[in-house]
């Protein structure tokens, strides 16, 4: 069969899969949760259109239900003027269609603001103006004629049994079979087997061959498939390659080639979580598991199509269902009445009192009266739809009041139909109007809150400390509290401090990228222990390893529960009853992390080779102790060196140490194999490591550039204080698969401390400072850059690398710590009541701080902190604009002084990276809130970790890619207010437009409406220019007359 497919066919299938996968957002593993826009693949479309397309592809809703917006309006969070303006525009657009006597503006205002249900105009298939008229006037009739019914039926069937829909899907609809659900279930099981990253004790075989190939081997022998009667063997013999299999099955199903693209899209979007993960995986070259077990969407699709084909064949045998797309079409054409009744019944859309009758009739092989039954049913359905719709229309007319009910009554059949059509159109776009009106309210609120700086501010005195925090919304309260305490000046910078690094943490085998997901770091920074005993593993650590291995063993349930179950109960009780105390006690048992330094300077080739050898020798020493129980004192350096050479394949065994200590040949061979596989002392890995070593560190020029950029982009080029704190942030939670979602978004869901340490080290280096002086940035000798970590769960700020602090600074350390811990308590006091703590905690900062720490260690806590929920603003400008303003932890604050950035390059950097990350975070929250089931991930309560890289609902489901209910909802209502990010930039309008014009992606996001923008123009009296409908308009609250500017997109481009 292979020979029948040309290379062109195969390439065409691959390219179609590539195109079909474009709308599916990549899904990063949860260890490094990346907040992403679920509609990222549709960002080339305007927001409103993309939302519609998202609904079509992913079945997710794009806006909140009407009742939620009505509640917001009652709370004063909707700008009525903006709402009215949008409605007026709609009425003006529809002026020539409005039936006489109908005040459409009033109707839609009442509909939007007072109608108590999500829909007024129901989805109907048989509704006609005549039918509505008849019901409205309590008359019988109003039905269509027989030919009209037949024509409409044909259109309905064409839509509901779509030609490009997967055949099994149409069979499910027509026969009530469960192929779709069964297929998903089998596919998810296959994916779990293959993509597992160490969660399963028993791994699937041959995974290194790739997904499709490994799956084929297992499927041929899978007893579960055989028991179900799935004839996979025959199918699998027909094609070898995944793309060939896809093409072969598409032909077998007689899917027209013109429909292949949409057919593939529908197949891939069905489990878009898995598809997104595989898509990410196949494109992440640095991802360890994808290198080890390769897979792509072609494999995924091939497995899906083989399984789907086998299940379809089973349905053909058992239910007499059509076997291909052609047969489905014929089936519907030959008995269209029966097909319609089948669709109604099996899609659950049938009138309940007809269900049994129709089911009975369809159960008969032949029915003479089926057409008659269908016609009677259609009449009943048509009447039912009309009655339901008229009831709703009359209800709305009553709410509109005055003469609306009478006006409705005198409309002709055609006019009623037109009115209904207009209301349907309004409802279609109503969500977007609500969204804009709500954003308008918050834009006004921000414009009113912003403090316009005085023209000539007094020269500032030297603050006690300056602190850089991430732009994350959780930094805003901390900055505000710290500033309120006294001599502190704070700055906002993206949490990776502008330095994209690939970080190799000590003790971790793989590199993590600490920078926004849109960037790929060029430089690698390893963490080197300064004080470590590699030979000894702490007792508790060893015990933990033993228990972990035991848990994974198949025999454990039979032998270990009685023996060691009690040990686990200690932890169980401790974590539940007294999490804080338990954590403190346990902290004593855990090994302390050694003091480390970052390797930041570039290496010469000799240095690189020497380092690699040193690391490998250290690993061999450790392996000898762990695997063979041979201590460091029993081996010499030469023997270790020899073992390395053997592992590298440079010299053959047996080794001297094996001969000397009487280690058998087999045992030594096993040890060498472990060295290669587990400790990665092998030739291939060494080549890879040498390549990596070439990436290690930064040249001096790079270091100077990064420090300059960090300082100038935040407006700090003078008046440096004694301490410049570089506070990265992280969260601290227990038993929480979403832990990294609470970490730093600008570090790809990682923790930004290494970046802070890197910047601090660079900025403290004398050579760097000397070069900075040349560029006009003079950092005083007593200024010390100190890395720190802001724990967003407890609000604590912990200082790092204190051992490197000069003695003269130690005198001031206590004051710094006092200030930080006071700010911690003040933040906790504000935050704890929002997490369900008693309101009196707001008056007791000490108790609030204790509670925050308890939350961090409580393993039953589903909401340890609110994270980035309620994020709304992104402010790029000087701190003076918002200093002392309570932004309620809802603003990303990026410090920027356009005056230090004459070319606008720094603004471009901010717009292209931190702003885009902010937009992703914002839209992740937005869509998870408006549809927590489709775009979010549902309730955490039902989640199970899948393969250590994601969560599923229950024991198997699609991967849940968004945020859980507990992050965005409170008591069933949105806690996060779903609004697009409102960005405010402090800079002259032309300056901003020029920067935007240089960034294609950013321009498309701004003018596509993916985020809202306000430009606060210092050279125009600090008037706020709001980007609205593609034009910048001066906001009335900024106290000037509106001066619309045209063709801004043209200027920008």
């Amino acid at each position: 069969m292979d020979s029948q497919l040309t290379l062109g066919d195969r390439l065409r299938v691959r390219s179609m899969i590539y195109v079909a996968s474009e709308p599916i957002p990549r899904f990063w593993p949860m260890r490094t949760f990346i907040h992403h826009n679920p509609l990222f693949g549709l960002e080339h479309l305007p927001f409103e259109k993309a939302v519609e397309e998202g609904t079509r592809l992913f079945h997710g809703r794009g806006y909140l239900p009407r009742q939620e917006y009505q509640r917001y309006r009652a709370e004063g969070k909707i700008d009525d003027v903006a709402l009215r303006r949008r409605m007026d525009a709609f009425v003006a657009r529809s002026a020539d269609r409005i039936p006489g006597g109908i005040d459409l503006g009033k109707w839609i205002w009442t509909l939007a603001t007072s109608w108590p249900a999500e829909r007024l105009v129901f989805r109907s298939e048989w509704l006609t103006g005549a039918g509505l008229y008849a019901v409205l006037h309590s008359q019988s009739g109003g039905e269509e004629t027989a030919p009209e019914t037949a024509v409409r039926l044909e259109a309905i069937l064409k839509r509901r049994v779509a030609a490009d829909a997967p055949v099994y899907m149409n069979v499910d609809r027509l026969f009530g079979t469960d192929i779709g659900a069964t297929l998903d279930e089998l596919l998810v099981k296959s994916c779990l087997d293959f993509f597992d990253e160490g969660q399963s004790a028993w791994q699937a075989p041959n995974r290194e061959q790739g997904f499709f190939s490994a799956w084929k081997d297992v499927a041929r022998r899978n007893a579960r498939f055989l028991l179900r009667g799935l004839q996979l063997r025959q199918l699998l013999q027909l094609e070898e390659t995944p793309e060939g299999m896809v093409a072969y099955i598409l032909r077998l199903l007689k899917v027209p080639e013109s429909s292949w693209q949409s057919y593939i899209t529908r197949q891939l979007t069905r489990l878009h979580g898995w598809a997104g993960f595989i898509r990410y995986r196949s494109s992440a070259r640095h991802y360890y598991w994808s290198r080890k077990h390769p897979a792509d969407l072609t494999d995924f699709l091939a497995v899906r199509m083989v399984l789907g084909m086998a299940l379809l064949q089973e349905a053909v045998r058992h239910h007499g269902a059509p076997a291909d797309a052609e047969a489905v079409r014929r089936f519907v054409e030959e008995d269209s009445w029966g097909a319609y009744l089948r669709l109604e019944l099996h899609e659950g859309r049938i009138l309940p009192d007809w269900a049994h009758l129709v089911e009975d009739d369809l159960a008969r092989r032949r029915s003479r009266n089926r057409e008659d039954l269908a016609r009677r049913y259609i009449r009943a359905k048509s009447r039912w739809e009309a009655v339901r719709q008229v009831k709703a229309l009359q209800g709305l007319a009553d709410l509109v009041g005055e003469n609306a009910a009478q006006a409705l009554q005198v409309l002709s059949a055609g006019e009623i139909e037109t009115l209904l059509e207009l209301l349907r159109e309004w409802e279609h776009g109503e969500g977007f109007v609500w969204l804009q009106a709500m954003e308008s309210h918050y834009i006004t609120a921000l414009v009113e809150k912003i403090r316009v700086p005085p023209p000539d501010p007094e020269p500032a005195k030297r603050p006690f400390a300056q602190a850089y925090f991430c732009i994350d919304v959780r930094s805003e309260p901390m900055r505000r509290q710290l500033e309120a305490l006294g001599d502190y000046e704070t700055f906002g910078i993206a949490g990776f401090f502008g330095i994209p690094i690939g970080y190799l943490e000590f003790g971790k085998g793989s590199e993590s990228h600490l920078c926004p997901a849109v960037q790929t770091p060029k430089n690698l920074v390893p963490e080197i222990p300064a004080d470590l005993d590699l030979e000894e593993e702490p007792l508790y650590g060893a015990l933990e390893h033993v228990l972990h291995d035991l848990k994974g063993s198949v025999l454990s349930p039979f032998v270990a529960v009685e023996a060691i179950g009690l040990i686990f109960s200690l932890g169980l009780i401790g974590k539940t009853v007294a999490p804080l105390t338990y954590h403190q006690l346990r902290g004593h048992l855990d090994a302390k992390k050694p003091v480390t330094r970052l390797l930041l300077d570039k290496l010469s080739p000799d240095q690189a080779d020497s380092i690699l050898r040193a690391v490998q020798r250290a690993m061999i020493v450790r392996a000898l102790a762990k695997e063979l129980g041979i201590g460091r004192d029993q081996v010499t350096d030469d023997e270790v060196r020899e073992l390395r050479e053997i592992a590298m394949g440079h010299v053959p065994g047996p080794s001297t140490v094996a001969r000397r200590l009487g280690i058998g040949e087999t045992r030594e061979a096993e040890f060498i194999a472990r060295l290669r596989e587990v400790y990665r002392v092998d030739r291939q890995e060494t080549g890879l490591q040498m390549e990596r070593l070439g990436r290690i560190g930064f040249s001096l020029e790079e270091q100077v550039r990064y420090v300059t950029q960090a300082l100038l982009s935040t407006g700090l080029n003078r008046n440096f204080s004694r301490f410049v704190l570089l506070a990265a942030h992280e969260s601290q939670t227990e038993n929480n698969p979403y832990e990294s979602a609470l970490d730093c978004g600008a570090c790809s869901g990682g923790r930004g401390l290494p970046n802070a340490r890197a910047l601090a080290t660079m900025a403290t280096k004398p050579e760097v400072r000397r070069r900075l002086r040349d560029t006009g940035i003079t950092i005083p000798d007593d200024t010390w850059f100190l890395p720190a970590v802001h724990n967003t769960t407890t609000d604590a700020v912990e200082l790092h690398d204190i051992e490197m602090l000069p003695a003269r600074h130690l005198l001031y350390l206590e004051r710094l710590r006092n200030g930080l811990s006071a700010a911690t308590r003040r933040c906790a006091a504000r935050r704890m009541p929002t997490l369900g703590a008693p309101g009196k905690l707001a008056e007791d900062p000490y108790a609030a701080a204790v509670m925050a720490r308890r939350q961090a260690h409580d393993w039953s806590q589903v909401r340890p902190e609110w994270g980035l929920s309620r994020n709304l603003y992104g402010i790029i400008g000087r701190r003076i604009l918002t200093e002392g303003v309570d932004l309620e932890g809802r603003a990303f604050l990026h410090s920027d002084d356009y005056r230090l950035d004459p070319k606008g390059r720094m603004l471009e950097n901010i717009l292209s990276s931190p702003l885009v990350v902010g937009e992703w975070i914002n839209l992740e929250h937005y869509f998870s809130t408006v549809d927590v089931e489709h775009y979010g991930s549902g309730s955490k309560v039902y989640h199970n970790v899948a393969g250590r890289f994601a969560v599923m609902t229950g024991n198997q489901s699609d991967l849940r890619t968004g945020l859980p209910t507990q992050t965005v909802l409170q008591d069933g209502r949105p806690y996060h207010e779903p609004l697009r990010l409102i960005g405010l930039v402090e800079a002259p309008v032309p300056f901003v437009l020029r920067a935007v014009g240089n960034l294609v992606k950013v321009r498309s996001l701004l003018f596509g409406g993916w985020l809202r923008v306000i430009v606060l123009d210092p050279e125009d009296g600090y008037r706020a220019h709001v980007l609205e409908d593609g034009e910048l308009q001066v906001h009335p609250a900024s106290d000037r007359r509106s001066r619309p500017q045209n063709s801004l997109e043209e200027i920008a481009s």
């Binding site: 249900a117 659950g348 859309r349 049938i350 009138l351 309940p352 009192d353 007809w354 269900a355 049994h356 089911e359 039912w384």
Partner: protein, 259 residues
């Protein structure tokens, strides 16, 4: 005359193939209340007619015992099987009642007194009747009592769904409802060799209630908003169920278990 009465009793106290007529009669009753009444009254009438016919059975030794018992068990199995595929609650209730009522023939064949058999019949009739009433309430709200179309009915109609669930559990002889004790009694009066033939009935009832609850309680509701049963109505229904269960413990459970 006796034969006519016997046949009539076979109609009212359903026994295949006459059970078809019983079902037609109940199905043709206009409205939920009439159906409930029919399920309650017709079986009682059947027993009465049987006694009027003067036909008496004296336990397992009778010559008709074997075929008649087989027919009764066959009827119970047949209707339990049919109930599995039915999603209309009134029909489901009717089939389940028919399946349970057919077992009363085994008690009749065992020579149990008329009063005791009549009491047994109530254990199957009352849940069937209650289900008919509540199915009527459901139909009034949703246009029909066909479950499984949209799923998750329990979410929008929690009170009515609870009553339906409890009623269905009572209809399938779940402890502590009287049906359970009647089933124990039937097992007691059956010769040991016949008991395995009763087990398929239990298996099918279990399967049936599983499907029933799956369709009623689980899934995501996609229909329109509907008003649940009033609090007073829910309490009244709950009271009837509690009285039924408590009375069952006293009349069927305690009495028979002790004896």
């Amino acid at each position: 005359m006796n034969l006519v009465l016997l046949l009539l009793s076979g109609v009212f106290l359903p026994l295949f193939p006459l059970s078809w007529l019983f079902n037609r009669l109940v199905a043709s009753a206009p409205g939920a209340w009439a159906k409930a009444l029919a399920i309650l009254v017709l079986p009682q009438l059947g027993v009465q007619l049987l006694w009027t016919s003067g036909l008496r059975f004296s336990g397992i030794a009778g010559p008709w015992h074997g075929p008649a018992a087989a027919l009764a068990l066959g009827t119970a199995i047949l209707y339990a099987f049919r109930a599995i595929s039915v999603r209309e609650i009134t029909i489901w209730a009717r089939f389940m009642a028919t399946s349970g009522l057919a077992l009363a023939w085994l008690q009749v064949l065992a020579g149990l007194p008329a009063a005791q058999v009549q009491l047994s019949l109530l254990a199957w009739s009352i849940p069937g009747a209650l289900l008919c009433l509540w199915a009527g309430e459901l139909a009034r709200r949703m246009g029909g009592a066909y479950i499984g179309l949209s799923g998750g009915v329990a979410r929008v109609l929690p009170r009515l769904s609870t009553l339906l669930t409890m009623g269905a559990l009572a209809a399938t002889a779940t402890p502590v409802f009287p049906g359970f004790f009647v089933l124990l009694n039937v097992m007691g009066v059956l010769p040991a060799g016949w008991v395995p033939f009763l087990l398929p009935v239990l298996f099918l009832w279990g399967w049936s209630i599983g499907r029933f609850l799956q369709d009623l309680l689980f899934g995501v509701y996609r229909g329109e908003e509907v008003e649940d049963l009033g609090i007073a109505g829910a309490w009244a229904g709950a009271l009837v169920l509690v009285v039924f269960a408590v009375a069952g413990l006293f009349f069927w459970g305690a009495t028979w278990t002790v004896s």
